[in-house]
């Protein structure tokens, strides 16, 4: 239905004509950004022959001069461009039957129409709407900013009946920061979904494959309101939804449920536990005796690698770099020191002083984007930049389930704004920023993520294939993954 609506809109408003001599192109496309997943009809001028072309037409990322609006549309350009052989085809009329991917609503917060639509959708799903808090810096006013002191559970009934209690608990743990870290959030999410599936009963005259997916949608909206979903969570949800829809209709409920629970177990086992083992194995080859390794923040994967390496009797020492306001490095430091690894702890302001002694930098990632950019905790790109300046190799460790098809070149367009009150600190009894909201020209910005360009990353260690790939091969991995599925 969505596709038809958009197509109707786009057929009425052709954007522009062709600009190449000898090749007349008529493009019908809608003005919002979208990606082509499907180009189904190509009409050649000569024969008026409808050629059925599916998405295998190309996969190269070339600039397409006839579609400037795609490049200018900011973040969400993904996807496939069409390579046309100019010598054989005279006139190309492309009807774009595409799945129109809208800009996700969580980066359009300053658009009142989008907000209204969101409010309506949440009302329909009976999920409360969480209000934004405080003044937002204008560059980031298109993102949500919530306060930890106003949890969503204020508006949820006790006991929660609309939302499964496991999901309420999970949302609370996300918004309070008890479950942080890409892997932990995904595992906790799948755990909650296991409870939901266990407690689920198919209503009469409904099919499990359809109804369960519909049941999960309000839960996902709720979790999104508590804290924006991460890329890994998004991939996990996609996987579950696919598995649920693939349940044959003649399958009995008990059997279907146990099958789904099994799938979830397998997913976690393969993509998280075994992947960590595989990555550790590849990464340990890169760690030699006498190394000084620099890590940033607390990445569960990097900690795992270092602990494994230490157990395999590699001699190295670690420098843990930390930054406010999260100060996650303290937790990483605790875990490494508990194992017996000798560590140094510095804040990020000292990174250029400490880098001359460093031989390698290991970084964790929140997600790897399709154009090779690494999305990670804010401060990572800083470290990668300084490391590049000192010619220190930067290795990013990331499981394949965190690879996502998004494309982003800067940290502004899609990010997460954390509670600005986290930046308020009391030193010697004085809290200077206590009344920051009353100062009209002051805004507090607490960013969570940033993107690192692939030029600063030397190697990505992952669990697919040989293990070590350059940053620019991420789309290949994505393609291989899609083919597998």
């Amino acid at each position: 239905r969505e596709m038809r609506k958009d197509l109707a809109k786009s057929l009425q408003s052709p954007c522009f004509g062709g600009s190449e001599p000898g090749l007349q192109t008529n493009f019908f496309s809608s003005v919002t950004s979208f990606s082509f997943d499907h180009i189904s009809h190509l009409v050649t001028g000569k024969t008026h022959h409808l050629l059925n072309i599916c998405s295998s037409i190309d996969t190269t990322f070339t600039d397409f001069p006839l579609m400037p609006h795609i490049a200018g549309c900011g973040a969400q350009t993904g996807g496939r461009n069409v390579l046309v052989n100019r010598h054989t085809v005279e006139k190309v009329t492309l009807f774009v039957f595409s799945v129109v991917k809208r800009l996700p609503e969580h980066i359009q917060v300053d658009n009142p129409d989008v907000l209204k639509k969101l409010a309506k959708k949440l009302e329909r799903q009976q999920i409360p709407l969480r209000m934004d808090y405080g003044y937002k810096v204008s560059l980031f006013s298109h993102l949500h900013q919530y306060s930890r002191k106003a949890p969503l559970t204020q508006q949820v009934s006790i006991p929660s009946t609309v939302i499964h209690p496991a999901v309420v608990r999970l949302g609370l743990q996300y918004s309070q920061g008890i479950v942080t870290g890409s892997n932990a959030r995904s595992v906790a999410l799948l755990h909650a979904f296991k409870q939901v599936i266990r407690d689920y009963t198919t209503p009469p005259n409904e099919e499990l494959s359809r109804d369960l997916v519909n049941k999960l949608k309000p839960y996902i909206s709720f979790l999104n309101q508590c804290r924006p979903l991460s890329a890994s969570m998004g991939n996990a949800i996609k996987y579950i939804k696919k598995e649920i829809s693939n349940i044959p209709s003649q399958c009995k409920e008990e059997e279907a449920k146990s099958k789904l629970l099994n799938c979830i177990e397998c997913y976690i086992n393969e993509k998280i536990i075994l992947a960590a083992k595989a990555i550790a194995k590849s990464a340990i080859e890169k760690i030699s005796d006498g190394d000084v390794i620099l890590i940033y923040g607390c990445s569960s994967l990097v900690n795992h690698i270092l602990c494994e390496a230490f157990e395999k009797s590699r001699k190295f020492r670690v420098i843990v770099v930390d930054s406010r306001p999260r100060l996650e490095g303290r937790e990483a430091l605790r875990r490494l020191v508990q194992k017996g690894i000798s560590c140094t702890y510095v804040l990020i302001s000292a990174v250029s002083y400490v880098l001359p002694e460093v031989s390698k930098v290991f970084l964790g990632a929140h997600a790897l984007l399709a154009n090779g950019y690494v999305m990670s905790r804010v401060g990572t790109s800083q470290i990668a930049l300084v490391a590049k300046a000192f010619n220190v190799p930067v290795l990013v460790c990331c499981e394949t389930y965190k690879f996502c098809e998004r494309v982003q070149t800067d940290s502004f367009v899609s990010n997460e704004l954390d509670d600005p009150d986290d930046l308020i600190v009391t030193r010697k009894g004085k809290t200077h920023l206590k009344d920051w909201q009353e100062v009209p020209s002051l805004g507090l910005l607490n960013l969570v993520y940033d993107v690192t360009p692939p030029d600063f990353v030397d190697l990505v260690i992952t669990d697919l294939g040989l293990g070590m790939i350059p940053c620019t091969s991420v789309p290949v991995v994505l393609r291989v993954k899609n083919v597998d599925q």
Binding site: P151, I158, V179
Partner: protein
């Protein structure tokens, strides 16, 4: 289902026998509503649809006839009756209804009047997967003069010592002054794990507990625990730090090693793990969060049993279990709700002076030239001419003849105050008659049958 609500309404009101010898405590009128209406209203506002009410047959009968309860309470009330005279403690009552309990419970006492945001307590219970979450409030001084008190304030009640950690949420220590013979001792293991502990004494326990279902199952095994507040809560708080059998014992705890052996055998019963425990463990391992910093232990020090407390510093929180609290509650409780001060069915003559902070109940009749200030008048009460009522609580069905002057007093139901009587700071019991022209100050006037109880 997430939580089941249990309301304990079988208490006798042993600290205000003057009021309760005729009316059971849950049905005492506060602001013209029965006392148990307040916790039920709180539960209803928050979203509960069913409540299990543990009470006596007498209260159940009164509940079914009381108009307020029938009309205003829309939840389904599952009333369980227990023996009135039995020595059933609150924990015994929970054991009694063990069959009905299918999930975690929220236990409330019928004498709690509060406007707390309940999600604060329940969020602690949910987010940290706690075994116990409770509510406490800073105690307020009662400023009103209490009838029957002879001058000096009575001796301070036994204090409660409550130890919380730095964040003010985790409950580390709880003891009553009565149990501490020669001083407060804190175990070294607790000090090692939580080096900064705040010990507070001026807190009122609101008797609102969120308990895991495993605790109720544990109670059925251990029949020796009879009171939630007195025994179960301190036990759970202590259990947070007790060691399992295979961890090394400390030198300083040599004297209670035998007790520890007994403790550890019952430890495993409280820690019933969920079916996906390894997944939860994995999520916790991978998460880079810790509830404390500065030592080498993981989140929660690896402890599975956790007790949390939410301490309210603003807002209303009263436990109506003494006369002073009852009077204070009558003063403040009506402010919680947006109801008209004068009930529409009351007949008030125009020449009556009524203060804005007074409440008149249904079917009252107030005659001319009366002055009612800062008082609560119950249903079906008749106030004749030239009566001055200040700062008092008049319950239902009372008749006040002309020319009376009532100040700072509590007049219970169905009493009759004779003409021209002058009562200051008195408590007139149920059904009592005060003769005309009587002058009483600071007295408790009750029937002879009451005098027999000791």
């Amino acid at each position: 289902m997430e939580l089941q609500a249990v309301l304990m309404a079988a208490g006798g009101g042993s600290r205000m026998t003057d009021l309760t010898y005729n009316t059971p405590k849950p049905m005492l009128p506060v602001g013209n509503k029965p006392l148990m209406w307040y916790p039920l209203n709180l539960l209803e506002r928050v979203g509960f649809e069913e409540v299990i009410v543990i009470t006596t047959k007498e209260v159940q009968k009164m509940m079914s006839t009381d108009p307020k309860m029938k009309v205003d309470v829309k939840m389904k009330l599952d009333v369980v009756c227990i023996q009135e005279d039995g020595d059933m403690g609150t924990a015994d009552a929970l054991r009694h209804i063990q069959q009905k309990i299918k999930t975690d419970i929220l236990v409330m006492s019928c004498d709690l009047i509060t406007d707390v945001a309940l999600h604060e307590v329940v969020d602690l219970f949910r987010a940290h997967n706690a075994t116990l979450a409770m509510l406490m409030s800073k105690a307020h001084e009662f400023t009103e003069t209490v009838p029957g008190q002879k001058g000096k304030k009575k001796t301070a009640e036994q204090r409660d010592f409550v130890g919380v950690d730095q964040s003010g949420k985790r409950l580390l220590f709880m003891a009553n002054e009565a149990d501490l013979e020669d001083g407060l001792s804190v175990r070294k293991s607790i000090m090692r794990k939580h080096p900064r502990m705040h010990i507070k004494t001026g807190l009122v326990d609101a008797h609102l507990y969120c308990l895991k279902k495993a605790v109720v199952d544990f109670l059925t095994e251990n029949k020796s625990i009879s009171s939630i507040r007195g025994e179960l809560v301190p036990y759970l708080v202590r259990k947070q730090f007790s060691k399992t059998t295979d961890s090394p014992k400390m030198k300083d705890d040599a004297e209670d090693q035998t007790q520890k052996k007994n403790d550890s055998s019952t430890n495993h019963e409280l820690l019933i793990s969920s079916r996906d425990e390894p997944l939860l463990q994995l999520a916790q391992e991978r998460s880079c969060w810790n509830d404390h910093h500065g030592d080498m232990s993981e989140a929660y020090h690896g402890g599975k049993l956790r007790c949390y407390v939410h301490i309210m510093d603003q807002g209303l929180c009263y436990r109506v279990n003494t006369l002073a609290a009852f009077i204070e509650a009558n003063r403040l409780a009506p402010k919680l709700f947006e109801e008209p001060a004068v009930h529409p069915s009351a007949v008030i003559s125009e020449r009556c002076q009524m203060g804005s902070d007074s409440i008149i109940g249904a079917l009252c009749q107030v005659a001319d030239k009366t002055s009612i200030k800062r008082s609560t008048i119950g249903n079906s009460t008749t106030v004749k001419e030239k009566v001055k009522v200040t700062n008092s609580i008049i319950m239902h069905g009372v008749t006040i003849e002309e020319g009376c002057n009532i100040q700072g007093s509590v007049i219970c139901s169905n009493a009759v105050i004779g003409r021209g009587a002058d009562l200051k700071y008195c408590l007139v019991g149920n059904g009592q008659r005060i003769e005309p022209e009587a002058e009483r100050t600071n007295e408790v006037i009750v029937g002879t049958d009451q005098l027999m109880e000791i």
